[in-house]
Symmetry: C2
Subunit: 377 residues, 2 copies
């Protein structure tokens, strides 16, 4: 591949941010020194130009027709009013679908906001925040914003948890389960142990749990320091509308509500979320299809000699056999297929690939075969 220019836009933009640091002076020191979170790259107007977007773990299928219908009916003069500050219709729907008390639910402007609210409510300057390395890098950013001491305990090379992770004391622990970028699913017993030994609040980020064989929702009743977060971005195809929620004890939810903006979830997102949660059957079928596609893609890449970790999420982490991952990223990019490459010591050999729809996955395999076969398409 030689000397040609690399094309990881995310990494370049981080360097630019770093150069600008010293110019700022009005901010808190921790803000001045930190780097912001870098979301997955999106080429301008990619929707119009035939890109296949497998880089930010969106659902490959459209939302339920009932959601679109409910949204259309909500577009009128009522949008001039503030939304329900407590998102009651959404909390009721969550309570019904997940079998929890609606007073134990907080709704956020995306799951990211629920994570941010937890950090702001729990984590003071200099206090310890615990996370794995690698995982969702937003946790680190949230810790830095709080001026916390961020402790990143490495995972084993198979992405399993190390014993050291359990022996840390932390005011706040973030753990994603299933955990990106591998999609590994940790045992419920391990999550329970974490709650019992951490000494602080534990957030189990279950943004991808809808694609997994099991989850930890049942632990909320027993563990009063546990917050479970969920997202409608992946499972219910609502990434654009920003709906996530947290489930925890009434006391934890009560404290988190003090921190959230009053009108944090807009009126249309509340309509869409309630309608989606009322049509679980539609999404359940699609979820099964995504799981089938995930297992099929895993198998086919393994047949090409790639190492693919067993994933319980709507993405896989795959180590190309024929080219380095960064080169494969570039080759796919040139063919207008976007996957995610993270240039860190723990992840530099793999690609995180979102499970697309059957046609997208077929095309991905076709392009990969062409690349490793050296064929011109």
């Amino acid at each position: 591949m030689g000397s040609r220019a690399r094309i990881y836009p995310v990494i370049l933009s981080k360097k630019l941010l770093t150069q600008r640091r010293k110019e700022m002076s009005y901010f808190r020191d921790n803000i001045q020194q930190m780097e912001g979170y870098s979301p997955g790259f999106q080429p301008h107007h990619w929707r119009d130009e035939g890109w296949i977007k497998l880089n930010t773990n969106e659902d490959p299928f459209p939302p339920s027709p009932k959601v679109l219908e409910a949204l259309r009916e909500a577009i009128d003069g009522r949008i001039r009013f503030y939304p329900d500050s407590d998102a009651k219709s959404v909390r009721e729907a969550v309570a019904r679908v997940y079998g929890v008390d609606e007073e134990c639910v907080i709704v956020g402007n995306g799951c990211d906001e629920v994570l941010s609210i937890a950090a702001r409510a729990v984590l003071g300057e200099g206090e310890v925040m615990l996370m794995t390395r690698p995982t969702y890098t937003l946790y680190r950013v949230l810790g830095h914003i709080q001026g916390a001491k961020v402790l990143e305990v490495p995972l084993n090379s198979d992405f399993s948890l190390r014993e050291e992770f359990f022996s840390q004391k932390a005011k706040l622990t973030f753990i994603s389960n299933p955990n990106p970028p591998s999609g590994i699913l940790y045992e419920k017993a391990d999550m329970e142990r974490l709650c019992e030994e951490s000494g602080g609040v534990v957030v189990i980020d279950e943004a991808y749990a809808d694609f997994a064989d099991r989850n930890c929702l049942g632990l909320v009743e027993k563990q009063d320091n546990l917050v479970i977060t969920r997202s409608l971005s992946k499972y219910m195809s609502l990434a654009g509308l920003r709906i996530g929620f947290g489930i925890a004890s009434r006391d934890l939810i009560g404290g988190m509500k003090k921190v959230k903006d009053s009108y944090n979830v807009n009126c249309l997102s509340q309509v869409a979320a309630a309608a989606a949660l009322d049509d679980v059957g539609y999404y359940s079928d699609k979820m099964k299809e995504i799981r089938r596609e995930r297992d099929s893609l895993t198998e086919k890449l393994r047949q090409l000699g790639w190492k693919v970790f067993p994933s319980h999420a709507n993405f896989i982490f795959a180590l190309p056999a024929q080219l380095h991952a960064s080169e494969m990223y570039e080759e796919l990019f040139r063919k207008k297929i976007l996957v995610r490459y993270f240039d860190t010591p723990e992840t530099k050999d793999g690609l995180r690939i979102t499970i697309g729809n059957p046609e997208e996955n077929r095309r991905l395999l076709e392009v990969i075969r062409a690349i490793i076969g050296g064929e011109k398409e």
Copy 2:
């Protein structure tokens, strides 16, 4: 009025929150001790039951038909994708309408989020946050969330600024201009002095400036510590969709962007905001009508003997002549007219009344006349 039960739901809910404080133990001390912000009360299903809602400063007119049309066209399978994390189309529209560089604009999930982002970026534990008393009480909540030392400098009885306000040194100053609940508009020269003397970041919250004779946007170029915030909730009838923005130097905006959630503004709100900003003529006409209604309502209440402060916003602060403000609040409530009553030493004698549409304002006056005349309707 005697001993009958009072009906300020907001105040009651604050007391309940206070009682629950001691049960929490996982939070930061400042979070445990603070009270959350209390948004204006909204009776359940009020839209269906003939309420007149003059309590949260929404625009009394519907959004532009072009906004509704743009929203309808955006309701399709694309909502499954994450929104533009940088809200470029909105920033471009803001840049065009307000004559600023799009790199000097940050878009928030409502103006409240922009205020929150500023607090998180600038204000460390124990640092000084400055505000007036009274004003928008969210500022105090944001300071408490940061664990800051919140300094509230009283206003004069006519709501003008005291000299002491300028002599304070603060890491972050929030000032609303026009300033609720009175709607008073401070001089640009005073705002400039504040920027020059505060020693930290100054946020001039211009959520209501669209209804005023002048604003401070022009100061951004000269004052590198100034953030101006604006809202589309009031002027552009989009309270339900949560769109606000901040305008400041590139460096201030750059630091604030580190703190904001990546996908903080949902895709439909971005569509609506860009469409609204493209149809300024529609809103400009409505704004003039609101100002005419404001001046007319002010005059008519004064004719009833009420003291009404000169307002530059889309609300007025009025001191009833015949009953105490709290009693008038209750009487209006019974007649299904919602206004805002703040039970604090500085505001307990007045009502903050949002300017409604002509029919709502006519009905408000009719009901007030009936109440003070002791008539049965």
